[in-house]
């Protein structure tokens, strides 16, 4: 695959990951865990760009670490989940504009907290009308919300799209076929790479015991998020196309999508935090640990405050709940390119590239 000028830090971590992968390629005991090892066996030598692709293909299930006969104190000192996590997070940081922001957000949880606080103040200042009103649009007009949130949503997406384009170029991807998309989406949808290969799961929160908890929690978060997203999209259509402004009744499509979505996202987020607190940072990207926590918390608070907002509608608590919820949403959106949130996009791209490689397609 194409060799690119990589910056010094990434070069060091990619070279370390390559050292480890070459040992894996001589062993191959872990072939059945995930997509990473079969991908490794297709090659004898690895460019640093190959390491970027393998790193994003790795879902950090940690099965290979616990199975490895060469972990410390062995002199080969293998810790592949951590080595790939380092390359992975650095690859997002490297491609995301403006540069340096992601490295900061991922390392410093205070960055996320700062964005949230600013959002709280700005939204608090923008809120108008009767503060005790139990009706949503009494506090923020629809047009004001669109004016604030449309750029907060679209600009980050633009940054991500540009970064993905660069990623795709680096890993030698070509225009994907329908079959490749289908394969990648099916793997992402089932989170096959968190299944341990035989639906026994990860070795994440219980040392070397397998568990499906992380996969299930992750499913809840992903599908919860997609349902919430669908709910917002439907509501937007109803507002503009059918001239049906909020609030919507409990049986309306936005509510039928949004409420289960919010519940899934909240429950999944809480579960992921519980699991994370029991996992070993040394098998992950330890320097991004704080940022990971900030992201999980923001995501969960966004969902939980959305549900709370529904619960308090019609009461005088709407103003404060609404401001808080919108501030969470704004934080989540703004930080999407620079936080762990972005992993979903790169993961899907890596799965798509792997589907292509399996079909023997792509530039090398």
């Amino acid at each position: 695959m194409s060799t690119l000028e990589l910056n010094g830090l990434l070069r060091a971590s990619a070279e370390e990951a390559r050292r480890q992968i070459e040992i894996c390629n001589a062993c191959r005991y872990c072939e059945g865990f995930c997509s990473v090892f079969p991908a490794v066996t297709r090659q004898r030598t690895f460019s640093l760009s190959d390491m970027t692709q393998l790193a994003n293909l790795c879902h950090n299930c940690q099965g290979c670490y616990h199975a490895c006969q060469y972990t410390a104190p062995h002199e080969f000192n293998l810790n592949l989940p951590a080595a790939l996590a380092g390359v992975r997070t650095e690859s997002w940081e490297r491609w995301m504009w403006p540069r340096g922001v992601a490295a900061w957000v991922q390392r410093k949880p205070a960055a996320s907290a700062g964005v949230l606080i600013v959002a709280l103040f700005v939204l608090g200042a923008l809120a108008s009308g009767d503060a005790a009103s139990g009706v949503f649009y009494q506090h923020f007009s629809h047009n004001l919300l669109v004016a604030v949130f449309a750029p907060l949503f679209l600009l980050p997406l633009l940054a991500i799209a540009m970064a993905l384009r660069n990623y795709w170029k680096e890993v030698g991807g070509v225009c994907a076929t329908v079959a490749e998309w289908r394969m990648a989406l099916s793997q992402a949808g089932r989170m096959r790479n968190l299944s341990g290969g035989q639906d026994q799961g990860c070795q994440y929160e219980k040392g070397d015991r397998y568990s499906q908890a992380r996969r299930h929690a992750h499913h809840a978060v992903m599908y919860g998020f997609l349902l919430c997203f669908a709910s917002t999209s439907v509501a937007t259509l109803m507002h503009y196309v059918w001239q049906l402004p909020a609030p919507y009744a409990w049986w309306s499509l936005p509510k039928l999508l949004g409420v289960p979505g919010g519940v899934l996202l909240t429950v999944g987020g809480v579960m992921l935090m519980r699991l994370k607190s029991r996992s070993d940072p040394a098998l992950n990207s330890a320097t991004r640990w704080g940022g990971d926590w900030a992201f999980l918390l923001t995501l969960t608070l966004t969902a939980a405050s959305g549900l709370l907002l529904y619960a308090v509608s019609g009461t005088s608590a709407v103003r404060i709940t609404l401001v808080f919820h919108l501030a969470c949403v704004a934080t989540l959106f703004v930080l999407t390119p620079y936080s762990k949130m972005v992993h979903g996009f790169f993961r899907l791209a890596a799965l798509l590239r792997e589907a292509q490689a399996q079909a023997g397609r792509g530039r090398s």
Binding site: A26, F33, R44
Partner: protein, 468 residues
């Protein structure tokens, strides 16, 4: 031992060792209600002895079974064993082991072991060997978790130095732990503490001083202390005390625990020379999996126990990658310089070899292709293509010891024997008794079969003795 709990308890079954055989025995005994303690010499990170380096289980099966294809029947299995051991086996024990391998496969799955299809590059084993998902360490982890769930106590860094016997009866073990000697009492003992291959002095006494240059592929904890202690007390031995199973591995491997990745598969596509830059054996005698085992011995017989496998760029992609990159040079002269070999002699050896190579049209890397040399003192009978396309590459070879053959003689119930019969309450399983069945050579995945089958038998019989 932070408390005196382990010391004051009268355990039902004391298991000495913490690898596959020990775990199978401990789990089986605990499932029959026995109070079991495992005394593992290694710390937790290195637990599991040589089992942590294994990757599969040779399994008899009458039809397609899980990851195993087609059928592998008792007779074929036994004939395969006869071939590698040249008849040095105990037929009754061997057939018992083979027959019990099939139910053992189901037992392994039921106790947490996950299997995966044959690894890439090992398709020839997909019928006979079931591979562990994640390899032997994953298997060991699964068994430790199963044992913990059954209430089995595990003491790490517990090196057993003496098995105290009173007449034909086991009374207690003496174990060094935390810098002190302790007594652990039990009503039965299962000895599953492996061979003596990590004791270099012992190897040197048995094999000769050349053994000091051998690398040990597995655990540094197999010091053979328990084996020696039992033999000194009159237990019967089996297996050639002077022999070990050694293969040719990368000479740059660590002294211990290099495991699978130090394996080199380049020999059939190379010329192999000693440090005088002279060839010493037919590199193309047979497909590598069949010849792999003899090269340890061949290299051990060379000066300073070292060999050099030399290929050219044509052969580079024909074999599995290994852990260390080859030494690379644009000329043979430079290659010789980097390896410390006499350059002129190497060029001459390669030139003679090249001149003796015939047409290579029929070259086929994965089967005996008959592409051979004509007129050399030592011919290469397959895959003989001239070494003529730069860059040239070389791997240093050294003998890597896998296991030793000397062991304790056991009965079909895995009970340890002495001159006048059997000990009342002493069983053995795994490498410490494998010499009974595997008197010479090796059959891939058979060590795990012996460990599993006799570990289960030993655990069952020990529990039965205790429950009687």
């Amino acid at each position: 031992m932070t408390t005196n709990n382990e010391q004051d308890t009268l355990w039902d079954v004391v298991v000495v060792g913490g690898g596959n055989a020990a775990l199978c025995a401990a789990i089986t005994a605990a499932e029959q209600g026995a109070r079991v303690i495992i005394l593992e010499g290694a710390p937790p990170t290195y637990r599991g002895g040589n089992s942590r380096h294994t990757r599969n289980f040779r399994c008899m099966h009458v039809g397609p079974k899980d990851v195993l294809e087609e059928a592998y029947l008792e007779e074929e299995y036994y004939q395969d064993l006869l071939k590698v051991t040249k008849g040095k086996t105990d037929e009754a024990l061997a057939r018992l082991c083979i027959r019990e391998s099939e139910p053992s496969f189901d037992w392994m799955k039921a106790h947490g072991v996950l299997f995966q299809p044959s690894l890439s590059g090992t398709l020839s084993l997909s019928r006979t060997n079931a591979f562990f998902l994640g390899g032997g360490k994953a298997l060991v982890n699964a068994y430790y978790n199963t044992a913990a769930d059954l209430g089995v106590e595990v003491l790490y860094e517990a090196q057993v130095k003496h098995i105290a016997l009173k007449g034909q009866r086991f009374e207690h073990v003496v174990v060094t732990h935390g810098g002190q000697d302790w007594t652990v009492k039990g009503r039965a003992v299962v000895l599953a503490s492996g061979g003596f291959e990590s004791d270099i002095d012992w190897l040197a006494r048995a094999w000769g001083p050349a053994a000091r240059n051998f690398l040990i592929r597995g655990t540094p904890y197999n010091m053979g202390v328990v084996l020696k202690d039992m033999l000194d007390q009159g237990a019967l031995s089996v297996g050639d005390p002077t022999q070990c199973h050694a293969v040719a591995i990368d000479g740059r491997a660590p002294k211990f625990d290099g495991g699978i990745v130090t394996r080199l598969d380049c020999v059939p596509f190379s010329v192999v020379v000693n440090e005088n830059a002279e060839r010493f054996y037919d590199e193309g005698e047979d497909v590598w999996p069949k010849r792999y085992a003899i090269w340890g011995r061949l290299v051990a017989a060379q000066p300073n126990q070292v060999g050099y496998s030399i290929i050219d760029s044509k052969a580079q992609a024909l074999f599995m990658p290994s852990v260390f990159p080859p030494v690379v040079a644009d000329t043979l002269e430079d290659l010789a310089k980097q390896l410390g070999l006499p350059a002129e002699r190497l060029q001459q050896t390669v030139a003679e070899f090249n001149a003796a190579c015939g047409p290579a049209d029929g070259f086929h890397p994965t089967q005996l292709d008959g592409v051979r040399t004509q007129g050399l003192a030592i011919e290469k009978t397959n895959w003989a293509r001239p070494i003529d396309t730069a860059p040239f590459m070389a791997y240093q070879l050294r003998p890597g010891v896998t296991f030793t053959y000397l062991g304790l003689k056991v009965s079909e119930s895995s009970r340890v024997q002495h001159q006048h019969g059997e000990y009342e309450n002493v069983w053995a399983a795994g490498e410490i008794m494998a010499g009974s069945i595997l008197g010479e050579g090796y059959l891939a995945g058979f060590g795990m079969t012996i460990g599993t089958v006799f570990g289960r038998i030993a655990g069952r019989e020990a529990a039965r003795h205790v429950n009687a």
